[in-house]
């Protein structure tokens, strides 16, 4: 039961498919068996038989063929030796394979793709430009890139990048970035200072942790007024000052504030409308060289362009400097149009809602708003006030004169 193995071995050693035409083919095969010749895939077809034998056994057939005188014909030659022989005959094909692997080997020593991940505050273009300035572009030798040094350099040159990982995989350079998205909180330096109001309002509540409160709930104050003073005066039993100390004032002040809001919207505007006409253009790129192929082109007065880039990737991270850039062009027209009253009202309300949202994000608590919309033939106006509670305050160093 060695059929499977035998066929595998046959393929490596090479085998021939023969056709025998004889009245006594049985005798031929019996003689083969006696001489130790193995026959495979013997198909009887009327007075003919097709069978397979190894190349070694094929040469042992001649004395038997002389004896039985069959009509023996080679139908096919198969197996590795024949394939190899066939390949060797095609020198250009062989040269092509050698050149292909050589080119692949050479191209594998360069960077053909840069992947940037994790960046939000620094755009891809900013980082590409930065890499370009530091000599890292498509086609840079991999051996000339020191990943650790590049990591340190990026961290040093970008203040908002707190962690960076640079790795080379195949022909791809991976740059993974973590940015500090929180606001930089500076620790109080302890310099004696006052807490001052940043805008006009009415004090809702005041709690002084350090320093002397200068206002009380209900007081009307103006921007720049001192709310908590950094000067602490110690009094004796007779309420006479016996000591003065300058401290870093600290505390919480809540103020009722009034924010004016005005928005104007012109009735006339330029409307952008897509015509439905579009076309696609393709450009091939090899490294930094770009070859545009403009088989079909249309001329648009106004157009939107957006594109996508494709780079040839042989396997996982093995990118090659070959690819195509596809650009889509969409035509649009600009026409002078007028808003209807409802449209104007809707736009103004949407803008106002967006403005309120932004105020809320700043930590200002909105109590009430009192805005009105007035619409004329030319424009629409939205104006009024927003009433809110603000906890923001400024700080002012205690000056020598103040002391």
């Amino acid at each position: 039961m060695i059929v499977g193995d035998a066929m595998g071995t046959l393929w490596f050693k090479g085998y021939t498919v023969l056709q025998i035409e004889s009245l006594c083919s049985e005798r031929f095969f019996n003689l083969c068996e006696k001489r130790g010749i193995c026959i495979h895939k013997l198909y009887p077809q009327d007075d003919k038989c097709i069978f397979t034998t190894s190349v070694d056994d094929f040469y042992k057939l001649s004395p038997i063929a002389r004896k039985t005188k069959p009509h023996l014909r080679i139908k096919e030659k198969k197996g590795f030796p024949f394939i190899l022989n066939n390949v060797l005959k095609h020198q250009f094909f062989l040269a092509g394979i050698v050149i292909f692997f050589t080119v692949m080997y050479v191209l594998g020593h360069f960077v053909w793709n840069i992947s940037i991940d994790g960046n939000y505050m620094n755009s891809d273009d900013t980082i590409y430009k930065y890499l370009d300035e530091n000599g890292i572009v498509y086609g840079t030798r991999k051996s000339s890139i020191d990943c650790e040094a590049l990591e340190a350099q990026i961290r040093r040159d970008f203040d908002n990048i707190i962690w960076v990982s640079v790795a080379l995989k195949g022909t791809r350079l991976y740059i993974d970035i973590r940015e500090n998205q929180d606001e930089i909180i500076t620790a109080p330096d302890g310099t004696p200072s006052d807490i001052v109001a940043v805008q006009d309002g009415v004090v809702r509540s005041i709690v002084a942790r350090t320093g002397t409160p200068m206002v009380k709930a209900g007081d009307i104050i103006k921007a720049g007024d001192v709310l908590i003073s950094g000067t602490v005066v110690t009094l004796n039993e007779s309420s006479e000052p016996i000591a003065t100390e300058q401290v870093y004032a600290d505390g919480e002040v809540q103020m009722y504030i009034q924010i004016p809001y005005t928005a104007v919207l012109n009735r006339s505007y330029i409307k952008k409308e897509y015509t439905g006409h579009s076309y696609k253009s393709v450009a091939l790129h090899f490294g930094n060289f770009r070859l545009p192929i403009e088989v079909y082109k249309e001329k648009y007065e106004y157009q939107d362009e957006f594109g996508e880039s494709w780079t040839l990737c042989l396997y996982q991270d093995f990118y090659l400097p070959l690819g195509a850039d596809t650009t889509y062009h969409r035509e649009y027209t600009l026409t002078q149009t007028l808003y209807t009253d409802d449209e104007m009202k809707q736009i103004l309300e949407e803008n106002f809602a967006h403005y309120l949202q932004k105020i809320d994000e700043k930590g200002i608590q909105i109590i009430e708003n009192n805005v009105t919309i007035s619409i004329s033939d030319e424009e629409a106006q939205m104006y009024g006030f927003i009433y809110a509670i603000d906890t923001a305050f400024g700080r002012e160093e205690i000056s020598i004169e103040y002391r």
């Binding site: 049985e26 130790g36 495979h40």
Partner: protein, 84 residues
Amino acid sequence: MKKDLLDAMFIPRDAVYKEYNLSTVGNKQLFVEGFEAIKELSSTLIRLRVKDGFLCITGEKLYVEYFGEGEIMIRGCITAIQLK
């Protein structure tokens, strides 16, 4: 006497008496060991000479998968195996 001795030593008969041995896989494959020669070969009948006579394998689309060293593997749609 010889038979008793072989039985006692657990030696198979086909190894000593050069008898043939058949094994089949369904009706699609037949493997014969210890046959002497092929006497007739066609896609419907394969006749093998064995020690005591002839083994006739009839069927359809019969072909020899492997043949050599006293072994033959026949494949196809086997309908009958007869000893004549």
